[in-house]
Symmetry: C2
């Protein structure tokens, strides 16, 4: 297969539509990836308000009309089939993981596309900052924290973070580069001590894969778009569809579109 980083977004989506299931870190380099959360229309205000109140973990890039599986982030794409792997939720419980949700999509589902930290990875890589999970061929490591999000209506839950091991002398650069992209999580929420976020063991992430540190690395934690999934688990809406962690929607937007300065 072609190096996934050189695929166009449309080619990546076509592969996933045909059934390929892979974490998308490093795919279609330079193009923005998004988290998906689709809920029934009567939960949409709570989700949108939850995102407004927790903009670091939940930056909203697009919201669909009820029942509409398309998105302005990639005209022609179908949110029901173009992600590599989905999770289906019933009453806050994981009901299954499937590679296509066309048969499960409902006319009252509102789809939220949420910014993803993969977006600033291009900028980190361009600055020569190593991405250990990409180099190790793994999904990024994600952890549920002891930081509670600000609730909104029926939605509440803890913040989820993604972690990257960054060489100590590049921590400042990684902070500055990601801070300039507030629509895709922005600056890290914490640097250095996993225990400060209630994380007991970096080797046992709640989502994604464990990633090995190199000598001199410092763990940096960014708010993560899997946070709405943790809120689903805590808040138990009757039905929801999300991406599987790390298996994102690859959009046609360029990462650089989300850099403000």
């Amino acid at each position: 297969m072609q190096d996934p980083s050189t695929l166009t977004p449309a080619a990546a989506r076509a592969l996933f539509r045909s059934g390929k299931t892979r974490p998308t870190a490093g795919w279609a380099s330079g193009f923005t990836q998004a988290n998906l959360i689709a809920v029934p229309e009567d939960w949409a205000y709570d989700v949108l308000l939850f995102c407004q109140r927790n903009p670091k973990p939940c930056p909203v890039l697009d919201v669909s009309e009820p029942g509409d599986p398309t998105t302005t982030l990639a005209p022609g794409a179908d949110l029901r089939s173009d992600l590599p792997l989905y999770r289906v939720w019933e009453n806050g419980q994981l009901a299954g993981e499937v590679s296509d949700v066309s048969g499960l999509w409902r006319t009252d589902l509102v789809a939220f596309s949420i910014g993803c930290s993969f977006t600033f990875e291009t900028a980190l890589a361009e600055a020569g900052i190593p991405l250990r999970h990409v180099d190790q061929g793994r999904n990024v490591a994600m952890y549920v924290t002891n930081v509670e999000c600000r609730p909104a209506g029926r939605l509440h839950g803890p913040m989820v973070v993604s972690m990257r091991q960054i060489p100590a002398d590049r921590v400042e650069d990684a902070t500055r580069i990601s801070a300039a992209m507030p629509a895709v999580h922005g600056a890290p929420v914490h640097v250095g001590d996993p225990a400060r976020l209630g994380i007991r063991d970096l080797g046992r992430p709640d989502f994604g894969d464990p990633v090995d540190a190199e000598p001199g690395d410092v763990p940096m934690f960014w708010a993560c778009g899997v946070t709405p999934q943790a809120a689903l688990m805590a808040s138990r809406p009757p039905f929801a569809i999300t991406h599987a962690p790390g298996h994102m929607f690859v959009s046609d937007r360029r990462d650089s579109d989300y850099r403000v300065v």
Copy 2:
């Protein structure tokens, strides 16, 4: 009276609560001001989605619970009395301007606090960029443009912009400084030619006061938080309360809190 720029936010709000009605440009320097739009609960999703879809004119800083006139932007403040001047809307028509809406507030009203370009004026002033409207003791000039916002549900309408006359050799600095504050309108939407936005006569703003240019000034246009008022006029919800243009809510947040880099 004390120089308004040196007032604390609480002191400014107390003056407005006691009935003083003044545009707030330059008041409580360094503290963030916000636009207000309060709508019945069954319009709240449309407003929040309209703001998500039009983040440059409508950056949401806070959303209240239905009927609750408080805001996280200033604990203890009362959104019904602490702004200098309000507008009351019925079916998209201006029904009146009053200095207190305590008797009009409804148990189903949801209050949106929207970012304001006054927030980056502190940073412009600190960089030595002159603010003509402040120097001339006037409200900022605002114009309805021919740029349509992306609609959301029943809400639609044109983008409103604020205009500042900036010395030509400071246009780049003003762009860079405001771009670093995306939560309060960010970079300008246009520089130079009013006609490109459908503005015929800078001397006749749709809201606020005309502001005189100095020789060598270039007009710069930023998306404006009055945009939701234009959407109310176009979309005609049965009832709404807003601030009067330029007569903002003075919050306890610092302008610098909204600078991302």
